[in-house]
């Protein structure tokens, strides 16, 4: 009887577009899906520090170095906001980290590509953070309260990420021919993986319907991907770069840009561990965790000692 009541309350709350809060009754499937989505998102923020972090010591000026440091620090913050949200569902962040390191939980495939030049830092800010914004803005209305609130905080910070990247690229485009080539080369490499960030096409995304019903997700993968393409085309034009897709053109009937076929076998390959940087990303995360273990133990021992006196 009480179970039925709880389920009704849950459904009614979702229908009224109100938020589910940590101590509310929720279906097991909702809790599991939420933990998986939040953890995967948190892991992406944390692993996402690496491709750009690699350029902090090589940033071309003190200004760019300070900007990049702040941006990478933000990504760490995003990861922590999200682990915090996952813990409200009964997950333990140490356990989530372990699952990441052991390959039992995933992170965004985009971070398995290498950053070959400083232009990559700009293109990541523009396209990768841009795609993240497209994905994340609707999540500010996700039905799970702590997740939605974390997303609001994150979205406020992402705008800086995208703008610093685009400004960096504008600066390079005003530079030498070699610099312009670096930008175009980076765009060529990051464009398609950025489109893959929105996940498989709707027809092959079996969980989408349930996630939309629970209002965990507000738009389908293909809707968000289209929105991203439409936003990026004029930005690319203003920058003076070519997006590497011969089929990309405005479709007056649809009121959207058409674009070429995505190589989904590449996404599958990278997700299942065979991207250019998967091994290194996880090895780095594991090393940071193992090498930091003594610090965590020492701090805990120190706190224990102080509490005893």
């Amino acid at each position: 009887m009480e179970g039925v009541m709880s389920e009704q309350t849950f459904t009614a709350t979702i229908e009224k577009d109100q938020r589910i809060e940590p101590r509310d009754w929720m279906p097991d499937g909702y809790r599991k899906t939420m933990i998986r989505q939040i953890a995967q998102h948190a892991h992406s923020e944390i692993i996402g520090m690496q491709p750009e972090g690699a350029w902090i010591t090589r940033a071309p000026s003190l200004r760019r170095k300070a900007i990049l440091l702040a941006k990478v620090q933000d990504e760490a913050g995003h990861g922590l906001y999200l682990y915090s949200a996952a813990e409200t569902l009964g997950a333990d962040r140490g356990d989530l980290t372990r699952r990441l390191i052991e390959g039992r939980q995933k992170y965004s495939s985009i971070f398995n590509y290498p950053t070959l030049s400083f232009a990559d830092v700009g293109v990541i800010g523009w396209l990768v953070d841009g795609a993240a914004i497209c994905n994340q803005v609707p999540l500010c209305r996700s039905s799970y309260g702590p997740y939605a609130r974390a997303m609001i905080r994150i979205c406020k910070e992402e705008s800086f990420h995208q703008r610093q990247g685009y400004e960096l690229l504008m600066t390079m485009m005003r530079g030498t021919e070699a610099q312009r080539e670096m930008v175009q080369d980076a765009v060529n490499r990051w464009w398609w993986p950025s489109l893959m960030m929105f996940g498989p096409p709707d027809a092959e995304s079996p969980n989408t319907a349930q996630s939309m019903a629970w209002k965990i997700k507000r738009h389908t993968n293909d809707e968000l991907r289209q929105r991203f393409v439409d936003m990026s085309v004029p930005q690319a034009e203003a920058l003076g770069v070519t997006l590497p897709d011969p089929d990309l053109r405005w479709n007056d009937d649809r009121g959207h840009h058409d674009f070429g076929a995505i190589d989904w076998s590449e996404l599958k390959r990278v997700i299942s561990g065979d991207g250019p940087m998967n091994t290194e990303r996880i090895a780095n995360r594991r090393r940071a965790d193992e090498e930091g273990a003594w610090v965590r133990e020492a701090a805990a021992a120190h706190a224990g000692k102080r509490a005893a006196t």
């Binding site: 101590r23 620090q73 922590l80 140490g94 980290t97 702590p146 273990a293 965590r296 701090a299 120190h302």
Partner: protein, 95 residues
């Protein structure tokens, strides 16, 4: 072996003078002092606050969703607690 011995802390931030502290999230820290420093780094990187409280999560006592009726329903039928319950002629000023 990754084992978290650090307890969970809830973080509250006062955005500016004149406002209440508001709950913003949680973090892990070895002790109160570290919790405060981590809260500064994590939740106030852009002038989001002028004051921070941290509280051990297991020290928070909260009403549960199941207590909802016992806790909050009784106030529902006490309409006389609201100013709109009282009809006063429009001719009476400032009330």
């Amino acid at each position: 072996m990754i084992q978290h011995e650090w307890p969970l802390y809830e973080v509250f931030v006062r955005a500016k003078r004149g406002l209440n502290h508001v709950h913003v999230g949680s973090l892990r820290a070895a002790d109160h002092e570290m919790a405060l420093h981590h809260a500064r780094d994590l939740y106030t990187r852009r002038n989001e606050g002028v004051s921070i409280w941290v509280v051990r999560s297991d020290d928070v006592v909260a009403s549960g969703p199941d207590d909802k009726d016992a806790f909050f329903a009784p106030s529902g039928d006490k309409v006389y607690r609201h100013p709109t319950h009282y009809s006063i002629p429009d001719s009476v000023p400032h009330i």
